[in-house]
Symmetry: C2
Subunit: 166 residues, 2 copies
């Protein structure tokens, strides 16, 4: 069954979810952040079916989050290495980890601690406003139409419920 494609929605959440594709993709990225590079390492660490893993790696390469680098010839074998676009996804995973640690970890506490080498603390992610550096909470923000909001949707009825302000 072909799933709905969100790639062309005027929404960066929909587009990001379209890239993720399914539950496995963030976990493949997690392994890449743990330093895994080889097909067999991903496979062993995740216990994922080989065809599913092959598909997710192909997609992450096609979307530009991983790149293939040959480490052996004849037969050729590849490392899968995070690109700048892939490395930049760390913030999304770190925000997920923080939410999961807070709401899903139960009494045992977080399974993993994130040590921040630069400041030397066991820490966690916090999502802040890039302008004032205060924590970004939904109730303090208002969505507005951005430059990429499609012309054809700008005069849709009821849009005032969605976007307030100038």
């Amino acid at each position: 069954m072909k799933r709905t494609s969100f790639a062309h929605w005027p929404c960066s959440i929909a587009r990001t979810m379209d890239v993720l594709g399914d539950w496995w993709t963030p976990l493949v990225l997690r392994e890449a952040f743990y330093g895994m590079r080889r097909f067999d390492e991903f496979q062993r660490e995740l216990g994922i079916a080989r065809n599913t893993l092959a598909d997710r790696l192909r997609r992450l390469v096609a979307e530009g989050l991983l790149e293939k680098r040959p480490y052996q010839h004849d037969p050729v074998r590849y490392d899968y290495v995070l690109t700048e676009k892939g490395r930049d996804f760390f913030g999304v995973l770190a925000a997920m980890v923080r939410w999961g640690d807070r709401w899903l970890a139960g009494e045992d506490g977080p399974p993993i601690a994130l040590h921040h080498d630069r400041c030397g603390h066991d820490s966690h992610a916090e999502v802040v406003c890039a302008a004032c550096r205060e924590p970004l909470r939904a109730e303090d923000t208002s969505p507005r139409m951005g430059p990429g909001y499609p012309e054809r949707l700008r005069r849709r009825p009821g849009l005032g419920d969605r976007f307030s302000g100038p």
Copy 2:
């Protein structure tokens, strides 16, 4: 086909993805942050099949991100309202938006601008270290076993590849 359940993995990314369940869930939450509360509003805004929407709303209520509040009796009808746990998910969505705006928006630019009412700027999310408030980048962090890391996995061979440091 029953998908793999990630709910019991010792990983907050896996657990969070298990709650999300599929691509629609973050978009249902997005609509809740836009102020939508009623079944028909979610349905109209997302163009989602009614049975799919009913399933996602049920799951978000079961997981404690939304709560049902009756707004009408006989027949009873409900608003779906974000709980504290649901509102706290805003940071994850905001981090996704930032990544999507940066890497998937193309030349048109971001479809939506996030206005931060508290500081008065059109802004975006930034993911920082909660301890030192500097941007959190993968290369500056080291994962360590946390209090909730399962005893049975602590002596698994090869774990040194994954966790460095004390």
